[in-house]
């Protein structure tokens, strides 16, 4: 009773009090992009927790040489599930959650263009994810690594050994479902951005997060069908005895590798571009400066998008292709570092001379820049073909992609959570827990993974359940595992923070960080219809303009882009 009185007079201060969002049915039947976004967040966080737990099990198995705690088969299943979960069920949907929740808000729209299709995307993702996990209960899940190379995945191979690999079938169908959902989301985002921007939001005034999400959507749209085609071929091989990947009949497993990586490399940019977008929103706000080189950022994103379709074979440099092909892919791989480098410089230039406040969101961005640069450098090293020959399939690779995916994407996602959680829920995340989490994660992550570069150089092979007691390996792995637990603790604190702050967090108010993009112009949480009133958009920072015009009525001058502003 009390509540409804307050509601009548005042906007709800927390997501828990929004009348429209009460009751299970309101969620199950929702087509509101904010509710669907929250469902994406929640589901992907749960999958993330599962993936991280599997990682802890792996690190425990690897804590000492010749360790026989897990059997080789179990270990195979765990790292495959870890990779599949993290990539398809945790990180990618988490980024999708940000895209679905914030794209309409940032362009001043009421919802996405096709709200019902949006709901369908979510449910396809959930069902696909559950199907993949269901394979655990069939007594036999995945053994083949997240890239599922045939002949490891062919029926013959799995039959000849000690198991009948139905897990692969669940994997195929699950990925087809989530993939269909992802393609729908991509269409939805692109049409929304094309169609529903507030009238004066020209493309050159689009927030960078929306820019990068749109390019990301294009990548999803054009990369996932290649995966789907490959999955379909594999499925036919397994169930109708088709011969696509069967070398005995002249088929060629390399066809899988080409199709898979034609999807797979754009995929790794799909896993980072919205993260770049988050960082490009957070850094300017916490430096109190306009983003440096806005149009360069947008153009660099487009360039990354294009180039990402031209580098796939660098995942296959060890398969013995001709030298001209090596040149092309080595060159394109080195080339893609250029637009990425531009971004890093722009973020640094944005911070340069700004009055930076190191809130947790900003801390995660700074750590991201450093860690992602390390991951990028070890990546470019691979573009040199002989280095790749030496290090591929070693722990150097594991270290490299955790620097980009965990130290990169996951850190941007964390920044995104600390920045936008107040908008989504109406409550602030605890900064105190945030700082603890941040330091645990930075220390744990770098401690666990930097040293793995050396494990790779020392010859430790990935995807093997244990390792011989060669010089250094025991020490390196012990250190790595211990730091991994620290990282795991940091992740647990994050989850605790999410839950505690939902009930006990400080009320956020509309615009706790002094943000400049449209989502901060509405209440926190936004009402189901998003906006009561949308401020005019005359630059990339509409709220900043608004503030100016209110301070000095009539004297509102649009800020010069790229210059000093605070």
């Amino acid at each position: 009773m009390n509540n409804s009185e307050i509601n009548a007079s005042k906007e709800p201060g927390s997501i828990l009090e929004v009348g429209e969002y009460k009751g299970l049915l309101s969620w199950l039947s929702s087509v509101d992009h904010k509710q669907i976004g929250i469902m994406y967040f929640t589901t992907s966080l749960i999958f993330f927790l599962a993936g991280a737990s599997l990682a802890m099990v792996m690190r425990t198995q690897l804590i000492k040489p010749n360790h026989h705690w897990l059997s080789p088969e179990t270990y195979n299943q765990i790292f495959t599930m870890h990779g599949t979960t993290m990539i398809f069920l945790a990180i990618m949907p988490m980024l999708t959650a940000f895209m679905v929740y914030f794209t309409p808000l940032m362009i001043g729209a009421r919802d996405v263009s096709f709200p019902r299709m949006n709901a369908l995307s979510y449910w396809l993702y959930l069902m696909g994810g559950l199907l993949i996990y269901f394979s655990f209960f069939t007594g036999d899940t995945l053994h083949m690594g997240w890239s599922a190379y045939p002949p490891l995945t062919s029926v013959n191979y799995s039959m000849d050994l000690y198991f009948v690999g139905t897990g692969v079938d669940y994997w195929i169908v699950g990925l087809l479902l989530t993939g269909a959902g992802t393609i729908m989301t991509a269409i939805n985002i692109l049409v929304t951005v094309a169609d529903l921007r507030v009238p004066d939001m020209k493309l050159a005034r689009l927030p960078l997060f929306v820019w990068m999400s749109s390019i990301n959507a294009i990548l999803m749209l054009l990369a996932l069908p290649a995966l789907n085609a490959a999955l379909v071929m594999l499925f036919l091989d397994r169930h109708l005895n088709a011969l696509f990947f069967n070398p005995a009949a002249g088929g060629n497993p390399l066809l899988w590798e080409h199709s898979f990586w034609f999807f797979g490399h754009p995929e790794v940019y799909i896993l980072i571009l919205p993260g770049f977008g988050i960082v490009s929103e957070v850094i300017p706000v916490f430096s109190r400066k306009v983003i440096f080189g806005y149009s360069f950022m947008a153009v660099a994103t487009v360039a990354i998008g294009f180039l990402s379709f031209g580098v796939w074979a660098h995942h296959m440099l060890a398969t013995g292709m001709s030298f001209s092909i090596y040149y092309v892919f080595a060159f394109s791989t080195a080339l893609i570092a250029v637009p990425t480098g531009i971004k890093v410089f722009n973020w640094i230039a944005t911070m340069w001379g700004g009055s930076i406040s190191f809130d947790t969101a900003m801390l995660f961005c700074v750590a991201f820049i450093l860690q992602f640069t390390i991951g990028g450098l070890s990546g470019v090293a691979f573009a040199t073909v002989p280095i790749d020959w030496d290090l591929t399939q070693s722990y150097f690779v594991v270290a490299h992609f955790h620097y980009t995916l965990l130290g990169g994407t996951l850190f941007t996602v964390m920044a995104g959570f600390y920045y936008w959680y107040p908008k989504i829920t109406g409550r602030m995340l605890s900064e105190k827990l945030g700082k603890i989490q941040f330091w645990l994660m930075v220390i744990g992550f770098n401690g666990a993974f930097f040293i793995l570069h050396f494990a790779g150089l020392a010859g430790m092979t990935r995807r093997v359940y244990t390792y011989p007691d060669l010089p250094h390996l025991a020490t390196i792995n012990l250190i790595s595992s211990l730091f991994a637990y620290v990282l795991g603790l940091g992740i647990l604190i994050f989850f605790a923070n999410l839950v505690i702050s939902l009930f006990k967090g400080k009320p956020a108010g509309d615009n706790p960080w002094g943000g400049w993009t449209l989502e901060w112009a509405t209440s926190s949480p936004p009402p189901p219809h998003n906006f009561d009133r949308i401020p005019p958009v005359r630059s990339i920072r509409p709220l900043w303009d608004l503030e100016r015009s209110q301070m000095a009525p009539g004297a509102a001058a649009p800020p010069s882009r790229g210059g000093e502003s605070s």
């Binding site: 263009s113 096709f114 393609i183 991509a186 269409i187 939805n188 692109l190 049409v191 094309a194 169609d195 749209l221 054009l222 990369a223 996932l224 069908p225 290649a226 789907n228 085609a229 490959a230 379909v232 071929m233 036919l236 109708l240 005895n241 088709a242 011969l243 696509f244 009949a249 002249g250 088929g251 060629n252 066809l255 199709s259 034609f262």
Partner: protein
């Protein structure tokens, strides 16, 4: 641009990549596997050429239907729609007949790489034709009911999709049926 139309164009772009991968798989094995080259003995080229003409024609009838629907002339539009459905169905029946005769001659998905790639590629194309027929049938039903039941964008979307499906076949036909003539 109209939002449904844009969505359909994006969807078609995505589907195009899907077909490109399947087509490349066909090309790869046709060029590298010796058995694929004797496939000409199995395919019925003249008959399929006729069915191909049907499909091509259906693109034209679809266009006519769309034009009449746009100008609100229901009767001729319905006739052209019906013609499109009929032509599409004839094509599909023709493909079915081809499958039956191929399987009768022992050519299956699992026989050799030609079978594998041929049935996958044409099968997925056939599936798309089938889905197109369902969409056309729905349009026809809505239009028959009359009134404002059938929004203009729906017509446009279905025709974009239908032209796409035709275009894919116009690549598959020369590749599969005419390449073997060499």
């Amino acid at each position: 641009m109209n939002k449904t139309r844009l969505a359909m164009l994006l969807f078609v772009a995505s589907e195009a990549v899907f077909f490109i991968v399947l087509i490349l798989a066909y090309v790869l094995y046709h060029a590298t596997s010796p058995s694929a080259a004797d496939a000409s003995r199995y395919l019925d080229i003249p008959k399929t050429a006729v069915f191909t003409a049907c499909l091509l024609l259906s693109s034209f009838t679809m266009r006519q239907a769309a034009v009449f629907l746009r100008t609100g002339r229901r009767k001729p539009a319905l006739a052209w729609l019906l013609a499109t459905v009929a032509l599409g169905a004839v094509f599909l029946a023709g493909q079915g007949a081809e499958y039956v005769s191929l399987i009768g001659k022992g050519m299956t998905v699992s026989r050799d790489l030609f079978g594998t790639t041929f049935f996958t590629l044409t099968g997925f194309h056939g599936l798309h034709v089938f889905i197109g027929l369902i969409m056309l049938g729905t349009l026809f039903g809505l239009e028959l009911k009359g009134g404002a039941a059938c929004p203009a964008e729906a017509v446009e979307c279905v025709s974009i999709y239908w032209h796409f499906v035709d275009a894919v076949w116009m690549i598959i036909f020369p590749l599969v049926y005419l390449w073997v003539l060499r």
